[in-house]
């Protein structure tokens, strides 16, 4: 790829402005992981099924493994590294810890970010609504039960 084809993009990641030059085909996941050293988003299925690479773009969950970094220009991107308020964990993080809503943790950053977008849209979802919204995030360890309990608990904490 010659230098001529590089694109300049500006966007905000976890509240901080980022200006960088990218190749047009660069994926958002690779930009975050390799250039910005944000390793929380994980690569797994590579085809927008598993949700391990989920990040929020202007608050909406996207699979960063199939999302061009260029498409993120001018947006506000949140990764798992940007969710805590300094030392203070986000209520979803607290709820996942207290309810054992994770095991190996590989799906967890994507799972928590997807859950955040759900609770932002629908602060008190029913179990059926959680299952429906979260079906794009796979977990192979937990059997999902304790993730459902974590999200329900987080919803209560966020109301609290």
């Amino acid at each position: 790829m010659s230098e001529d084809h590089r694109l300049q993009i500006s966007f905000v990641v976890n509240g901080r402005p980022v200006d960088t030059e990218i190749e047009p085909h660069l994926l958002l996941l690779d930009l975050l992981r390799d250039k910005l050293a944000l390793k929380g988003a994980k690569r797994s299925c590579d085809m927008q099924v598993c949700g391990a690479c989920t990040v929020l773009v202007d608050g909406n969950p996207v699979s960063s493994c199939t999302y061009l970094a260029f498409e993120a220009r001018g947006t506000d991107v949140t990764t798992i590294e940007g969710l805590a308020d300094g030392e203070k964990l986000h209520p979803l993080m607290e709820a996942f810890i207290d309810n054992a809503g994770l095991q190996c943790g590989f799906c967890t950053p994507g799972m928590i970010l997807a859950a955040k977008s759900l609770l932002d849209l629908n602060p008190r979802p029913s179990v059926e609504e959680v299952k429906e919204y979260m079906r794009g995030n796979l977990c192979r360890c937990t059997g999902y039960k304790k993730i459902l309990e974590s999200i329900e608990d987080a919803a209560q904490r966020m109301q609290g």
């Binding site: 798992i80 810890i97 095991q103 079906r135 192979r140 059997g143």
Partner: protein, 752 residues
């Protein structure tokens, strides 16, 4: 006990919810190159020629590995059977087998180099199925198509059949299943003049170390295997997988190399054995089991991997937890031109229980006996020898089964649940089995008590998600009488922590936990010696409480004792824990413990579509003592959900040796939508296990019993018996059609 038995906060959770926890793919090693593998497009072919000269000449390429570069070593490896070459030599045995590997400055360059490698193949006849493998005069994958065979028997099965009133003979098949740990196989390897270091996503770091040392001719101390957090294993990262390839490539490229597989490559690297199991079972009219002949065939694919143990363990498990006067079991692991099969959670267990527990239900129906009663009548009780030459049963299956029946609302064979919906029918099914768990009792631990009274437990158990770091800390804190937050755990670095055989077979809490407890006890003995001198009192007048040794009204802290010993604010005490077959207690003989596999399921079957919905699923495990109850439940919930996957839809589909569904769109795994409305885990705690505080392992049982429980529920709902998995809507629909129009439908049940 204040710490053990409490759902304490796991130390790994903070790392994981914040995204800070590092997995191998997150690591950067200075000078690291990136690797790509050229895979065989053919399932069985002779390699006539490989020309990698253009790839080697590509700028940015540091090294290309083919069989040619391995001429100075014996490049065959495997957990027991050394049949797998580091990279294909002379021929390929499955579609996807590594033929060449490139290390380059970046992945794009490595990918470009692969396109420049020219390989000429001569196709060989493909052994696509187990039937192909057994055909007279068929081509062979290796010298023979028989990888491993095991056989045992007692009594006289033929005489047993003569004594029986009824004989049932059925064949059940089980599909190839993919683990899909979200983190695919990933390794960083560094080979240099000092030795080998690998940063590895592995469950058995010491077995990886031993095999790499053997392959590359190094002493054990010169091979270091470092395992950070592992993104799921379920057996897929047991023994040794792509590590030798990465090390050989690093040797060739003369720098560290990262090899990160895709889901497709991982699915072809290891899977669960497909099975065909024929059971001939003789019973009396009163339901007494008399004799059983079990013929097992398992498809181990192109390489043995751990197929020999899977073949043995499936044989061990196929009789179920019953007392058989006469028994014959023959189990064969067969090679085919498909991706290798190895360990997968409860090795051999789901295949065995699928056949056994489906047939037990069929026998109950034919005899007109309640299937719960039939099982209870024939189950072994704790203390009974259910397998000759093995430790007696130490799990109370009958209690577990009754709990599951109660939990799922079992009300007898005739009492099936009612539904108001027109096109659906409901049913309840039960299943029970036992797993010979624990692998072997070979574990060690080192516990260090520091000069400030805090402690570090050093173990090789891999934190693969099961929560071992937390559990080991709980055990050490409880035994040492210090606060949980004062215990740290260092794990899974073979250069630092002492030996452990493996992380699998539900063994870590029991065996490594016991080693930690023994290490802590050794420290306590040292503290007693010190305190005895300090107080000038006999040891039997001393006690432990709150980081101190207590003598009457007086006490002295551990920190003070250590400082006294070393003459200042420094030093530490070390306690060793050795768990071996000679360890005092119940570890003599095998298995380490019998793990109960008990599940009850309620399903709803849509007769128009064949779709099954699992409404309720209850699993029961005998855990002895739950060190951390919430995470123990999580283990069983995860196992049960994986069981739902292979019961309802999971299946790797090979056609003529080509894998047709090597991705997550075509190979579906359970999502939130499969979570049953009622999903319960029951833990039995009698504090009678061989592990610390009476613990024994769990986490594998449910996966073995889900499929037969669901199929038995489908039978109660519809009267149709299906002997093949998965129970896809199409398969169920076809069975329903055949059942209603073909006269095969058995419906002795009345609406309850």
């Amino acid at each position: 006990m204040a710490i053990v038995g409490t759902s304490t906060r796991r130390p790994d959770y903070l790392d994981k919810v914040t995204g800070k926890g590092a997995y191998v793919g997150d690591l950067e090693i200075p000078g690291m190159a990136h690797a790509k593998v050229l895979s065989s497009p053919l399932p069985h072919a002779r390699i006539l020629r490989i020309d990698a000269s253009k790839a080697r000449a590509l700028p940015g390429v540091f090294g290309v590995l083919t069989a040619h570069e391995l001429g100075d070593m014996d490049p065959y490896y495997g957990s027991d059977i050394k049949d797998r070459p580091i990279i294909a030599i002379d021929k390929v045995r499955y579609e996807g087998e590594p033929v060449a590997a490139v290390a380059a400055v970046d992945l794009e360059t490595a990918e470009a180099a692969l396109d420049l490698i020219d390989v000429e193949y001569e196709e060989l006849p493909v052994i696509a199925t187990m039937n192909d493998a057994l055909t007279d005069g068929a081509a062979t994958v290796h010298q023979s198509n028989l990888c491993h065979e095991s056989h045992y028997e007692w009594g006289n099965t033929e005489e047993g059949f003569a004594e029986a009133d009824r004989i049932f003979e059925d064949t059940f098949t089980f599909p190839m299943v993919y683990h899909y740990s979200l983190e695919p196989h990933t390794v960083i390897a560094r080979y240099d003049e000092l030795g080998i270091t690998v940063w590895d996503s592995a469950q058995h770091p010491f077995l990886v170390r031993n095999e790499l040392a053997r392959l590359f001719g190094l002493s054990l101390n010169r091979v270091q295997v470092v395992v950070p957090y592992v993104g799921g294993g379920f057996g897929s990262k047991s023994y040794i997988k792509i590590e030798p390839l990465a090390v050989a490539l690093s040797r060739e490229a003369k720098r560290p190399v990262k090899l990160a597989y895709s889901v497709e490559q991982s699915a072809k690297t290891v899977r669960r054995h497909a099975a065909s199991i024929t059971l001939k079972t003789g019973v009396r009219n009163d339901g007494s089991f008399v004799a059983r002949d079990c013929q097992i065939r398992l498809d181990t694919g192109a390489y043995a991997d751990n197929g020999n143990r899977v073949t043995d363990r499936c044989a061990d498990q196929v009789p179920g937890p019953y007392l058989w006067p006469h028994l014959t079991v023959t189990s064969k692991g067969l090679y085919t031109n498909t991706g290798a099969a190895g360990s997968f959670r409860a090795i051999g267990g789901p295949q065995a229980a699928w056949a056994s527990e489906s047939q037990v239900d069929m026998i109950a129906d034919a005899l007109g006996i309640d299937p719960l009663e039939l099982r209870l009548k024939n189950l072994g009780a704790p203390g009974d020898v259910i397998r000759q030459g093995k430790n007696p049963l130490d799990a109370d299956i009958a209690t577990g089964l009754k709990e599951a029946a109660k939990g799922v609302g079992w009300a007898g064979r005739g009492a099936k649940p009612v539904t108001q919906e027109k096109e659906t029918k409901r049913g309840i099914g039960l299943a029970c089995s036992v797993l010979n768990a624990g692998a072997s009792p070979t574990s060690t631990a080192l516990v260090r008590l520091h000069a400030d009274g805090s402690a570090t437990a050093m173990v090789s158990t891999v934190e693969v998600g099961q929560g071992s770091k937390g559990v080991m800390a709980q055990i050490a804190a409880e035994e040492l009488c210090i606060p949980l937050e004062k215990v740290g755990v260092v794990a899974s670095d073979t250069a630092i922590v002492p030996y452990d055989r493996s992380t699998g077979a539900s063994r870590s809490t029991t065996l490594v936990g016991l080693a930690v407890q023994l290490g802590a006890k050794e420290i306590k003995q040292q503290l007693l010696d010190l305190a005895s001198k300090h107080f000038e009192a006999p040891e039997d007048k001393l006690a432990f409480a709150d980081s101190s040794v207590v003598f009457g009204q007086e006490s002295i802290t551990y920190a003070q004792l250590i400082r006294q010993m070393f003459g200042g604010p420094a030093g530490e005490l070390m306690g060793r824990g050795y768990v071996t077959p000679q360890t005092e207690g119940p570890l003599k003989g095998l298995p380490v413990f019998w793990e109960m596999a008990v599940v009850g399921a309620e399903v709803e079957v849509n007769e128009k579509t064949g779709a099954i919905r699992v409404l309720r699923l209850v699993s029961v495990s005998d855990i002895g003592k739950a060190i951390n109850p919430k995470q123990a439940e999580g283990q069983d919930e995860g196992a049960a959900m994986q069981g739902i996957g292979h019961t309802l839809f999971e299946e790797l589909i090979y056609e003529d040796g080509q894998l047709l569904n090597p991705n997550l769109v075509d190979y579906r795994v359970p999502s939130f939508e499969e979570v049953p409305d009622g999903f319960e885990t029951i833990l039995i705690e009698n504090e009678d296990g061989p592990g610390p505080f009476g613990a024994k392992g769990i986490g594998e049982g449910p996966i073995a019993a889900v499929a037969p429980a669901i199929a038995n529920a489908v039978f109660q709902a519809t009267g149709v018996r299906i002997k093949e998995l998965p129970l896809t809507p199409e398969r169920v629909w076809r069975a329903l059609q055949a059942g209603t129009s073909g006269g095969h439908k058995v419906d002795a049940l009345t609406e309850g």
